[in-house]
Symmetry: C2
Subunit: 378 residues, 2 copies
Amino acid sequence: MQASPDSIPTALTPARRILMGPGPSDVDDAVLSAMARPTLGHLDPEFLTVMDELRGMLRSVFQTKNELTMPMSGTGSAGMETCMVNLLEPGDKALIGVNGVFGTRMAEVARRAGADVTEVKGEWGRAFTKEQLAAAATHDAYDLVAVVHAETSTGVLQPVPPVRELADELGALFMIDCVTSLAGHAVKIDEWRVDAAYSGTQKCLSCPPGLSPVTFSERAVEKMRRRKRPVQSWYLDLSLIQGYWGEERSYHHTAPINMLYALHEALRLVLVEGLEARFERHARNTDTLRAGLIELGLEPRVSGDERLNPLTTVAIPDGVDDGKVRGRLLKNFGLEIGGGLGPMKGNTWRIGLMGSGSTMRNAALCLAGLRDALAAQG
Amino acid sequence: MQASPDSIPTALTPARRILMGPGPSDVDDAVLSAMARPTLGHLDPEFLTVMDELRGMLRSVFQTKNELTMPMSGTGSAGMETCMVNLLEPGDKALIGVNGVFGTRMAEVARRAGADVTEVKGEWGRAFTKEQLAAAATHDAYDLVAVVHAETSTGVLQPVPPVRELADELGALFMIDCVTSLAGHAVKIDEWRVDAAYSGTQKCLSCPPGLSPVTFSERAVEKMRRRKRPVQSWYLDLSLIQGYWGEERSYHHTAPINMLYALHEALRLVLVEGLEARFERHARNTDTLRAGLIELGLEPRVSGDERLNPLTTVAIPDGVDDGKVRGRLLKNFGLEIGGGLGPMKGNTWRIGLMGSGSTMRNAALCLAGLRDALAAQG
């Protein structure tokens, strides 16, 4: 059973790519270095300080005063599931906007939590209006209304305040997916009165994947307190996890220490740059990218007023081979862009300018690479 | 809402501790360096090779040929929940040995998956006999029998083959928790005919916390295939996750790339040392530690034949202040040992010699530190 020594793989020497897909995005060297600092125990007083600082910085980035704000020990989808399984009990009514892969996923996760889900089918590549969502409601009242703020499959940014209005009219808590928007667009949790939100570390925070920042309003916490049944997931049960991130410091699971170092440094870099400056940078570089794509004859899938700055989707021209173009970009330029998902598979590229990867240099390089690859398709 | 620049925390400079608690354990510099390599995309051909190598090495360490062997994107408790929610459907009968915190947790997680759980209450600090477990069975047949191979709360190593025999008699699948045993004791998945096992990275693999290696037999996979209802957790649904780790490479969630780099290197170091040599080292250094503890008047909680080599538990002598001793070790020696959990809180220390931290030097340092701290209590 013992592996013979000559069957042991060699140590990794991964290439240094330029990651311009839908995430993970490129990670700053400072973040990689922070992650490689020596591991502390998860109850070490020094580490408890790291946790407190991290929560404070997360609140700044989420623009909230919510006490229950912290990173979950899993990727963005674990954050989505955290929100659903803690807020929903079997039979609860949820109205969910589905205009892409991540809306579809929210509906599926809510159903697995036992909820009575009303899916609002929207057009892929368009945001929802309040009227569209309202028209699809089949009940007078809902427990939860949820939409994706930044649809990573289509590149659409969903306006939030109108959906909050609808949630108020339906008496519902209000949840958003801001995996690809957090730190790339304004996410105003308190001003917008969002009750639950989750994000990921590997998009505009420019941190490796592995954690999911979440935040919950006092109304959401109150709904959790009134639960009749335990949360179906023990690992994601916030009533237990709060005990570790809160004052008690009671053991729940061993926190992913080094990933939390990385997030600490990534959040620091966001705040040192400043949120407004960061949002403006994302907008500016995407202006350049979109203009260049149009020049190359590549049509953006999303109109300018609904576009997501961190992620641009374009239609692949007829006769152009998706795999060959992306393969050539990777081989000749060390540059990764993303393919499409679901109905957009094979006909759409997803090009990310996220976090520290949103630069003039990357926009220009991607355009140069696409020009070369499209010419080679001849 | 913008944080003012002077409220941003400074960059982290965590102390270099010697981690001799119940985990996380000390991480080799080679593993920390691997983790800090540039992030690849989760569908990059180079990364797919990393995944395949990683699965091969995991099979060697688990001593199995199981196809369904991989790390889950969460800590050890996520691995526990993965096993439970995929193998159990509501109403399934589970017989679970409970002689510590992690057996208690298994029973709780199984109940949340809707199972009809028979808890076998055992003595904390003792292993189960087959007869004890058999006597507690209230049904003629079970769907699952589960025990903790290495009880991290008590320091007990559970003999596995007798429990497999019982599972056969009850017609049940057989699951073990080997969070603290994998790579520190033999874990013979195939020889012992274990159907499901989960571990953690932050114990004898000497990798930071954040991943949970799991493995499933063909019988377990068959039970999953026959499920009538979807797995309640979307994030941990193996029928979906297999699509990414298997041939199809279909997107499920974004893998925690850099954590997987770390695990790749940690597994390499295990195989380069060799499993038998590694187990022998763990045994030898714990012999030294136990002998020294007894010399200091500290009584091990577990007898020699049931002891867990990676983790030694000792009774705190009457009149000795738990917190003061551990605080002094941390302050004067940069050395972390663990306190007790549950009924062992305040009366037990847990001392780890795990993975690359199982050295003569650490055993000697810990004994010197305890001698100093106990004298200061005197």
